[in-house]
Symmetry: C3
Subunit: 418 residues, 3 copies
Amino acid sequence: MGVSGETEFIFNSFLFLICGMFVMFMAAGFCMLETGMVRSKNAATISLKNIALYSIAGLTFYAIGYNLMYGVDAGGIIGPFMPWGAEDAVLTTGEFEEGSYASGSDWFFQMVFCATTASIVSGTLAERMKLWPFLIFTVVLTALIYPVAGAWEWGGGWLDAKFAFSDFAGSTLVHSVGGWAALMGAIFLGARRGKYGPNGRVNPMMGSNLPLATLGTFVLWLGWFGFNGGSQLALGSAQNAVDISAIFINTNTAAAAGVVTAMVATQVLYKKVDLTMALNGALAGLVSITAEPLTPSIPMAALIGSVGGMLVVFAVPMLDKFKIDDVVGAIPVHLVAGIWGTMAVPLTNHGVMADGGPTFLGQFIGVVAIGAFVCGASAIVWATLKYTVGLRVTPEEEMLGLDHSELGLEAYPEFVNA
Amino acid sequence: MGVSGETEFIFNSFLFLICGMFVMFMAAGFCMLETGMVRSKNAATISLKNIALYSIAGLTFYAIGYNLMYGVDAGGIIGPFMPWGAEDAVLTTGEFEEGSYASGSDWFFQMVFCATTASIVSGTLAERMKLWPFLIFTVVLTALIYPVAGAWEWGGGWLDAKFAFSDFAGSTLVHSVGGWAALMGAIFLGARRGKYGPNGRVNPMMGSNLPLATLGTFVLWLGWFGFNGGSQLALGSAQNAVDISAIFINTNTAAAAGVVTAMVATQVLYKKVDLTMALNGALAGLVSITAEPLTPSIPMAALIGSVGGMLVVFAVPMLDKFKIDDVVGAIPVHLVAGIWGTMAVPLTNHGVMADGGPTFLGQFIGVVAIGAFVCGASAIVWATLKYTVGLRVTPEEEMLGLDHSELGLEAYPEFVNA
Amino acid sequence: MGVSGETEFIFNSFLFLICGMFVMFMAAGFCMLETGMVRSKNAATISLKNIALYSIAGLTFYAIGYNLMYGVDAGGIIGPFMPWGAEDAVLTTGEFEEGSYASGSDWFFQMVFCATTASIVSGTLAERMKLWPFLIFTVVLTALIYPVAGAWEWGGGWLDAKFAFSDFAGSTLVHSVGGWAALMGAIFLGARRGKYGPNGRVNPMMGSNLPLATLGTFVLWLGWFGFNGGSQLALGSAQNAVDISAIFINTNTAAAAGVVTAMVATQVLYKKVDLTMALNGALAGLVSITAEPLTPSIPMAALIGSVGGMLVVFAVPMLDKFKIDDVVGAIPVHLVAGIWGTMAVPLTNHGVMADGGPTFLGQFIGVVAIGAFVCGASAIVWATLKYTVGLRVTPEEEMLGLDHSELGLEAYPEFVNA
């Protein structure tokens, strides 16, 4: 005997809600990671940016983003009132279509994905960017840029329809989108004062609270089970349960391989293991497997995560060569590993239909198209902000710290040595 | 085909257990929030108070509280042995009533609500209150005060029966109860030495670890999905799944609106955004929507949360005017926003029965009755403690910090500047 | 009408996945607990060890451990590819056996248990042990020692078959295994320099961040609901829901009693409440109830947890008498309370079959057999490492801190007083 239609409806909805909670908690993970990686004089500001961007995403994705991304197919999530009323008919008749779920549960799950995209940007631009311009960018990113890019694939748009582009949980649609936006922001914003000296010298600016950054990484890792597992979008059959289990294992394995790879690589290259590289190795492994966490075997998941971890180890100093100052390493983690993960999809996902499934060309087109769009759109917003309200605090404010200039307080008023 | 009786039983029980876990984690959220908001010399003591109060609630709510609150209707949760045996009959016969669940799962969910009430009190009274008297109060609060007040409504008592008082997840029954108890405690205890100077001067005493307070706020926000979502009390039908989804969205939206409102308000009023106000704005939004997270539309949820955030911005300095010293802002957040949320219920919940549902008068009667009872009962306990064992540490101990006097250690022995 | 086979399959698998996520988060809990309990000069290294050991466990338990522990009965989880394909047949036929689940979900749940065992070891040995030798030990522990010991009981081996040894969620198989391995490590490694002075003097070395340790304890407490609740191994019937509810309540009650007991005991013995003892009291209560969280009544669960909390209060100074330096108290918590919990099983679990269920003798045999095996195997590994690559950093490195010598950075570069 199988699963009844109503039982399936409940399972599917509950999967969205529970997994959505864990993805929501990733906002806290990003916050702790970024707060731990900045200097203490900027720790309160980055904390505020993180809770503010999550809040903004929750409002704009309702007001504009979701409709833009999923259009009228979203089951009536349009307009300001009672969007979850779409299933009124089904509740009355008791006739449940296969794969159906409460539309509100889907909305919640999609909203926390949108918020994740915004979380990626804040870390890169920390320690010199003003509060309000960052929040204005967040509004545009969550209301327009992320949803438009997402509509091309998850909204059933041209990338999905014409190129069989495949991105299971968002290596490109979430992580690279955030990464591209962060990259453009870093270019328009410029590096922190003193970060790059003469003759290619890079001055390290150590994070003030590495245990907090470690906690943030663990929280992100935890949340990623919800991120990738919930992207199965259904729990209402045994096959779904089997698939989600595989997704959990592959997600964990890729992250684990990313950690070990980054540790070994930094030990070999620098004769010391670098904790922040190990943390970013975990995240790079997670981003890498996100485009296709279902079809790889476990060893293949380890390989995909391992390559992600290795890419981070090399991408971090490369960015420094170009004097692109990424405070937390979000560009290597989310953009570089996101591209890698997307391109790796055809290695294991051979499709089930006559059209043969995702191809390297299709994936490449998706990566380029999304990248071009997000870079272009972001650049317009960053440039507009730069030449109107300005992006950066003054050099004096940057020296004193943003907590002083933007908030008028200190994150740790009793701890820091004078 | 619908949901079988046994499947429904499992769904309902699992909802209580999973949501209960997230509410349990709110104890950690309160702990981090409060620990981050006190000065470092009191950080270990407030950490201890938080884990102790959660522990005490777990024991007293079993020994006394639950029976007092839910009486014999609780399905036999009485007496010391095997309280979850109530469903023995149903397990034998296999005949499941609609809406049934494992009574132990309900107990767990109710217990973590009781613990939340106690968590609210500790923050207000931090930095000058002795450890053991606080814990004695916690015993009385969790064994008697919270359960008696709760019985009037959730136990099927007179507020529910005669006045159609409505409080979905506890804006009044949890948050205001904690808030009233904290207010009375603050009055009997008095302000921290040096907090209020001559001529109405208020000396800021900055929290020692704002990133930790931010983490605590995120954890509370996460837990609130369990708090409000689990208060649907059932997951065993498609309608429940739809309703819980709406509750999640409204809960998130109210919190988001609270954050944005508090940020804008402090920017306008003080020319700087206040991080702690933004955090309390999130919490005030959450408290505000807790009395009715189901019936509001999303924009209405935003409005309710926004008013909550605004109330906090004005209530914090108002309390200072009365020299009521609330270290973390728990009274504005849990009491003021709790009253607002309770009074806002009739705006959207028009009832489904002939009696017309909740009314402003009925809500007002509930707010006043609960307030009067909790204030009276708390005052008796606070006064008794004050004039017997005493509530406050000595001025010297307060100067040195409670970690020194109460625990004989330091929370951060290596960090604080001499 | 009961639960359909496929619905049961989904419930069982989802229980493993959700509970597994919470157990995974215990890795973060251990990390925060340990990081808070070490001095700041070793905080980054212990953070790294914790994320590394979790990663290693995820890889080795796949490559070797799981097969060793559960053998061919594991449903085909053998060999490197697609281990979760075991249920292909059932998915095709749609014939679900009672109690069936996605084999991948079980693998995930078992893997996080293996990782927990490794987490226990790192804290004891902090502040003087080199990074890589610790990680090599972790490889052997998770690939061989834990799985072999586990196979004797959970793999259906001789302890289970011949002695009716009973260990519901792993007081012995997880916690004591970790505890014995930590004990042997502490003996081979020796105490931190300066910890033990002449004439039996014990120099306190205070943890640098007690709020972080408190957070870690809360996270562990949260995760323990998944740990014990998920060990029911099934959610597919009303009886399972009832049982898991009882497990949640007993787990919480034992922890709460452990906290209160440790607080009262330290107040009586030392005239001050010891925060770290209260935290370890919670954990000892949790470990104590883990061997049998289902059959005790709530008061009995409180008693079991209370004895656990008391044991910790006495075991910590006793270890110091033997100059066994356990930085976080993992041996009292996980080994001593683990033995107590295992021996307490027959007090309440009288079995349901003709053979009469667990006996004190059977439990004792299990404790001794597991202890002897783990001590022997661990000693071989520790000794091999000690006399080849070495276990300890140099005295100079220990003085400067492992963050300096092993990682070349500081955990809190701005906070620590010179």
